[in-house]
């Protein structure tokens, strides 16, 4: 609009300054108690020039949105605040501080796992006895809601030395282990269950080969029983496979001594989730039967793990391939409880524990890992997201390995770390047969180097 209508003139300052003489327009009476600021004079505070400020009133348009939201949110907030008040009360009464003085040894590490068969498993690993970081003793105990139990103990001597010795013993009970028949074509419809109980005692010695290599010799006696379960979870093995249809060894115990020679090469430098290096290992074992139902056999294993650093910090591709197989030295059938099943670490994670069983097992696992929360390299807590795929099968003979029988699992999840040590993982994994949820503190890759038998069950690697 035209400026004339406003009776206000605006002129360029230089022009105006030339035309307009300065006018000593006083803003206010002179006051010695004033200070010159960039806004001009700011008076010193007095009771009369101070003003109260208040919260702004909620606008009218907000109420229709706010009221229903408050009706839902406030109870949640009160619940949260109630919880908070409880935490604060505990904090104020030094409960958290006192927790630190409960005489729990520094070396106790609790474990928590979930599996579709085992249910929720709680346990503890106990090491560094009495605060002694080089103490040789190791203990582990686990118990699950489905009454799975595992107790192991042992000692590592001259830990960290070039020649290291270990002795140990263990017991494991799985009251509802599955049996579907033997072979890559066993049918899911034949699901049956039985009770698997095993115990072992053994010793091993390992010697470093250069910087990264290690050779291990070991001997272990083991006893594995397979019997009718006490629990009722549907059709038992005895009902599904009655009489002669039952696998050899069912209802009996297998006893024997496994002597093993293994050689390995480990160039990884991090325990939790390496992003470089590889682990190569192979072993051969001879099983000398002790029990009546057992036969002598040779067990072989080869495994390769490779960790590839990808484009950014903390991004890594973890690859693992493995094959294990048994060559019987007699014509008698092998007790079925000595056959390989898909079990940690050779797990087909989209399938139930023990879904597949045979004299040989092979697989390839790939995990792409990238940071989710913070970065474990902070020296603190971190979580990686994992995208995973497992491909594998059990086989009776090598020439039975073929594409049609390969099992495929794929999924995603998260792996947690503390100070670069693996803490555990939560995984969601699918296969054509089922969906499996895993909450586990067990590693599939890169077993903790300080744990007895490198974190593995002696029996699993035969």
């Amino acid at each position: 609009m035209p400026t004339l209508a406003l009776r206000i003139a605006l002129l360029a300052a230089a022009f105006a300054a030339a035309l307009t003489p300065p006018v000593a327009r006083a803003l206010a009476p002179a006051d010695s108690a004033r200070t010159e600021s960039r806004w001009g004079v700011i008076p010193v505070r007095t009771d009369s020039n101070a003003t109260t400020f208040h919260n702004r009133a909620r606008s009218a348009w907000e109420w229709p949105l706010f009221v229903p939201y408050a009706a839902i949110n406030y109870p949640l907030r009160w619940l949260r605040h109630g919880t908070g008040a409880g935490v604060v009360w505990l904090d104020e009464h030094n409960v958290f501080a006192r927790l630190h003085i409960v005489p729990v040894p520094e070396g106790v590490v609790p474990t928590l796992d979930y599996g579709s068969l085992s249910g929720v498993t709680v346990g503890a690993n106990y090491y560094d006895f009495l605060g002694a970081p080089r103490h040789p003793l190791r203990l582990r105990a686990e118990y699950s809601t489905e009454h799975w139990q595992r107790y192991t103990g042992g000692a590592i001597f001259n830990r960290g030395g070039r020649l290291q010795g270990a002795v140990g013993a263990g017991y494991r009970l799985r009251p509802n282990l599955r049996y579907y028949g033997v072979g890559p074509q066993s049918r899911v419809e034949d699901e049956a269950f039985y009770e698997d109980e095993r115990a072992w005692v053994g010793a091993s010695a390992r010697h470093a080969l250069g910087r990264d290599g290690v050779v291990t010799v070991g001997v272990a006696y083991s006893s594995v029983g397979a019997r009718v379960p006490d629990v009722d979870e549907g059709v038992s093995l005895a009902e599904r496979f009655p009489g002669v249809a039952a696998p050899p060894g069912f209802g009996d115990r297998s006893h024997g001594v496994m002597s093993r020679l293994a050689i390995g090469w480990d160039t990884t430098r991090e325990e939790g989730a390496p992003d470089g290096g590889s682990i190569v290992g192979g072993s051969v074992g001879y099983f000398a039967p002790v029990g009546d139902i057992d036969v002598a056999f040779l067990a072989y294993r080869f495994e390769l793990q490779r960790f590839v650093r990808l484009w950014h910090t903390g991004r890594a591709l973890a690859l693992r391939g493995y094959v294990s197989w048994i060559e019987t030295l007699e014509d008698e059938p092998l007790p079925f409880q000595r056959l390989f099943i898909n079990d940690v670490p050779d797990d087909f994670r989209g399938y139930k524990h023990g879904r597949w069983r045979d004299r040989g097992i092979t697989g390839i696992t790939a995990e792409y890992r990238f940071p989710f929360v913070a970065d474990r390299r902070d020296g603190g807590f971190g979580i990686d997201t994992v995208l995973l795929a497992d491909v594998g099968q059990v086989f009776p003979e090598f020439d039975a390995i073929r594409g049609d029988d390969l099992t495929v699992s794929y999924g995603f999840g998260w792996r947690a770390y503390m100070n670069e040590h693996y803490l555990g993982a939560m995984l969601f994994v699918w296969s054509e047969e089922s969906f499996q949820f895993h909450l586990t503190t067990k590693q599939l890759f890169q077993f903790s180097k300080e744990v007895l038998f490198n974190g593995r069950e002696e029996l699993l690697i035969h």
Binding site: M1, I8, L10, R56, S59, F66, R98, I101
Partner: protein, 557 residues
């Protein structure tokens, strides 16, 4: 589609509220003092749980903020120029923060000499005339410390650097103390001190907490135990930060959300206080990533015959790249639990790198942690855990903070860094350089969002204003042009029927108000000013001049 329309419709009131809803104009002196020093009964001390605060700040309140429909509507309104929250509640008509028990305008509004900035609150370091007497101690945590009484009877907290980083937190603590004081916040009197073991004695009544939390008499051996964990200077003396006990009775930290209900002077929710919202910018500048409420302190003080609560910021060990715990390039760039960052990483499957992961530091400079300007983005600063006031920081709040930051000139920064006492000249140079560069980045960031046309004053017949972008050389190589228009306005700030005048281009940052102004029948004159630095005219800043008193009574941005 329906959702988009609904959001747009809902956003309209939010936009209107953001732009409108201002107090009516009055021809009265601008308020420069908040009335919050009235005598009150002593409020109950607070001792919030650090543990619970972490969960509440990281989970509880972010969840509420992201599900609050009013906030979501306002968020949608930002597409139309609104703000995601209502404006701060404790600003005056010039969009400034009046002086209060929280904040005192200093370098932002007044000329401060570099020396005054370096002196900070102005108190003295512990007196040297007699041994310092240890009255209590802290043995837990990464950095131990104790409290000493000096010859004058003043009590100081003596804090040390983490092992391996001698001088890091002490220097950073003092430098940030001076910066925040000059900015206007209440801070303790902090000094870097050195002392020998022989100058420390334990008071007979001194107590110490053991590992169980129980108190027992303190001994000289306890002092030795504490000092054994402390790195020494080459001469065998100890370097520490001495923080003088604040006057009054401690009431615990102030919350960044809500207010003290038992303090009748505390009438504005803290998340809506401009100086706490704007603290985001100061915190970004000095990378003050540990802004949890436990690093604040309310004191019940007596001044002028009245007893009231005064609000302080304390403990600046985690600033300027320093950290009392461990060093991480993430600090200042991502919350400890940052769901946005988590989502970003997850949705991109890790293909996009976090910008902080490429930050580096010179391991030879043990006095400085991760403190750089290469990847600094002022609007993306993140403390360790979300801060309610920071979550409410609008562009106007940020602009307010940025013009304070910009007021620190090179000489101020150099004086403050010199006062901090970095022993390695390279460390001091690095900190000063990064502060200068990040200051300019902050100014550019917020001045781009809110035109830095400010400090409108009527001088004689002229309306004079400042272009902070030009004053502080924020846009080197540009030649700003200004233009203005005017309108008669009523108390509701709306132009009268004649509307705005034509734009008139100005050569400098002032314009003449002719005598015809005085003959107008309208109570106020609205003058809108814009700046063009080569990329087009900015948003306008409107100053309102009262005809009666010829003073600037309000400014709209």
């Amino acid at each position: 589609m329906h959702c988009a329309i609904a959001c747009a419709l809902l956003a309209l009131p939010a936009t209107a509220l953001a732009r409108g809803g201002r107090a009516p104009l009055v021809d009265a002196p601008v308020v420069w003092h908040e009335d919050d020093r009235r005598g009150v009964a002593k409020p109950a001390p607070r001792d919030p749980s650090v543990t619970w605060d972490y969960f509440e700040d990281s989970w509880g309140m972010p969840r509420e903020r992201w599900t609050d429909p009013v906030r979501l509507v306002r968020r949608a309104g930002t597409l139309f120029g609104g703000d995601h929250v209502p404006p701060a509640d404790n600003v005056n008509a010039l969009d400034e923060v009046p002086n209060s028990t929280w904040f005192t305008n200093r370098i932002g509004l007044f000329a401060m000499t570099p020396r005054a900035c370096a002196e900070g609150p102005g108190g003295e370091a512990p007196a040297r005339g007699a041994p310092w007497t240890v009255v209590s101690a802290k043995t837990q945590g990464v950095t131990p410390g104790f409290n000493v009484r000096d010859a004058r009877g003043d009590v100081y907290v003596i804090k040390f650097d983490p092992p391996g980083y001698l001088g890091m937190t002490t220097a950073a603590g003092v430098a940030s103390n001076r910066i925040l004081y000059a900015a206007g916040y209440n801070v303790p009197v902090d000094h870097v001190v050195t002392f020998a073991r022989a100058t420390i004695v334990v008071a007979p009544e001194a107590k110490i907490r053991d590992a169980t939390g129980a108190k027992r008499p303190m001994t000289e051996a306890d002092v030795d135990t504490i000092l054994a964990r402390v790195e020494r200077l080459p001469g065998g003396t100890y370097l520490a930060l001495a923080s003088k006990f604040l006057p009054g009775e401690p009431l615990g930290p102030f919350p960044y959300l809500g207010r003290r209900k038992d303090d009748s002077n505390d009438r504005v929710d803290h998340e809506n206080r401009r100086e706490l919202r704007g603290l985001y910018v100061l915190a970004a500048w000095i990378n003050h990533f540990d802004t949890k409420q436990q690093n604040s302190l309310d004191m019940y003080v007596e001044e002028g015959g009245a007893r009231f609560v005064k609000h302080y910021l304390i403990d600046f060990a985690s600033t300027l790249g320093a950290s009392a715990n461990y060093l991480s390039p993430r600090f200042g760039y991502e919350f400890n639990l940052d769901m946005i960052a988590v989502l970003r990483r997850s949705l991109t499957l890790g293909l996009v790198e976090d910008r902080w992961r490429k930050r580096t530091r010179d391991p030879g400079l043990t006095e400085v942690g991760y403190f750089d300007s290469e990847r600094f983005e002022p609007g993306k600063f993140r403390p360790l855990q979300p801060n309610h006031a920071f979550a409410n920081t609008t562009d106007r709040d940020g602009y307010w903070g940025a013009k304070i930051v910009a007021a620190f000139r090179d000489a101020h920064i150099d004086a403050i860094v010199a006062e901090a006492g970095y022993r390695d000249a390279r460390a001091a140079a690095l900190v000063a350089r990064v502060l200068r560069e990040n200051r300019d980045a902050i100014a550019r960031h917020f001045f781009d969002r809110v035109p830095p046309l400010d400090f409108f004053v009527v001088r004689g017949e002229r309306l004079v204003f400042r272009d902070l972008g030009a004053d502080y050389a924020v846009y080197p190589g540009t030649h700003p042009r200004y233009r203005a228009r005017a309108a008669a306005a009523a108390a509701d700030r709306k132009p009268d029927r004649s509307g705005w005048s034509e734009w008139v281009e100005l050569a400098v940052t002032e314009l003449a108000l002719t005598a015809s102004l005085e003959r107008s029948q309208h109570p106020f004159l609205a003058v809108e000013v814009q700046v063009d630095r080569g990329s087009g005219w900015s948003e306008g800043v409107t100053a309102y001049v009262a005809r009666g008193s010829a003073r600037v009574v309000a400014v709209d941005r």
